[in-house]
Symmetry: C2
Subunit: 218 residues, 2 copies
Amino acid sequence: MSDQPSTPLPAAGAELLGLLGCGQVFGFHTLADAAARSPFEQGVELALMSTDHLEGYRRTRQRIADAGLDADAVIAAHEPALQAFHERTSPADEFEALLKCYVGMGIAADFVREMAATLDDGTSAFVADVLSRPDTEPVAVPRLRQVLAADPVEAGRLALWGRRLMGEAMSQAMRVATDRPDLVQLMVGQDDLEGFNALVSRMTSQHSHRMRSIGLYP
Amino acid sequence: MSDQPSTPLPAAGAELLGLLGCGQVFGFHTLADAAARSPFEQGVELALMSTDHLEGYRRTRQRIADAGLDADAVIAAHEPALQAFHERTSPADEFEALLKCYVGMGIAADFVREMAATLDDGTSAFVADVLSRPDTEPVAVPRLRQVLAADPVEAGRLALWGRRLMGEAMSQAMRVATDRPDLVQLMVGQDDLEGFNALVSRMTSQHSHRMRSIGLYP
């Protein structure tokens, strides 16, 4: 296709890298929003973390371009779905924002990582590397535990919020997969309903682990 | 004071660097907020610019620490005043957010740059360098001109918003200067009311220039 030497990338890989790149931009927005709602020092910590996502976006965009594709178009194709999730999980305060960073972005990363595992080793390792940046856990978990310990009534509200994040993320993931045949192939390609159930089960288990680490029951 | 070799920094310089460092963090928040309200591609551009501010924060914090001072405390001292400005100029939409980036942050940078000019050459050059990062002008100006050309009614609303940004910034600058004797000394130290009037006149002129570049009358 292209005159310059390019790294070949199968359609499914391009789809997934597009989702990853777009997700990095929304990851930036999610962290920056939590930063803006935080006390000053915590806001600085989260702001610094948000820049890792832009670096992940830049690297992913470059990798798609290296395959001779129109990286901006490949990435922007995922914007409507991610924007919909983002708007449906707009946090009302600092704590909802922190939970969105830790739990919501955690689910999204799990989903992309799971699908990447079925790709060629190079792409799969690239995705894992982009997603391996410092986690928000060291900021979000102690802060949320402290809040919940001081005000048990908050626990009910935030448990609901965590469930909503999980529900919206799964519903959006299904929609992304349904609208994009190449991604569906990644999810159920190697197998079938059983493989898919296993994937959902692993994601649910990781979600439960995160919720429990804050002292919430999923 | 400190055992390790440190770069001496007079009290006024420390005050100004604290204001600069804190301002960089709020600059990040302002750009990230505008990015979140922007169409996808423009959002990415503004997000990438926001990271320059965190780099400016990091460098400023290091410079204060190199002088043997508690950099976090020196920076955090300015948080209440900047937070107050930030809250009083919370944008309602993308266009108010862009004007805040271009006009509001422009005024703030002018203010800090003016005061830095009265400091020793090293500190003054450092401040100018931190403030010399890419301007939001290439993003904000074409976008705002396009909006105003398509909808002249917006011009009235945004002209008012620009005046409000200027008014709040000046009132906040006065409060900062009044609450902090070392900064007052920077502003009027070399002279008196005349020097101060000249400063205000220069800032007003730069503000008018920015407003006119969008097609607004200040």
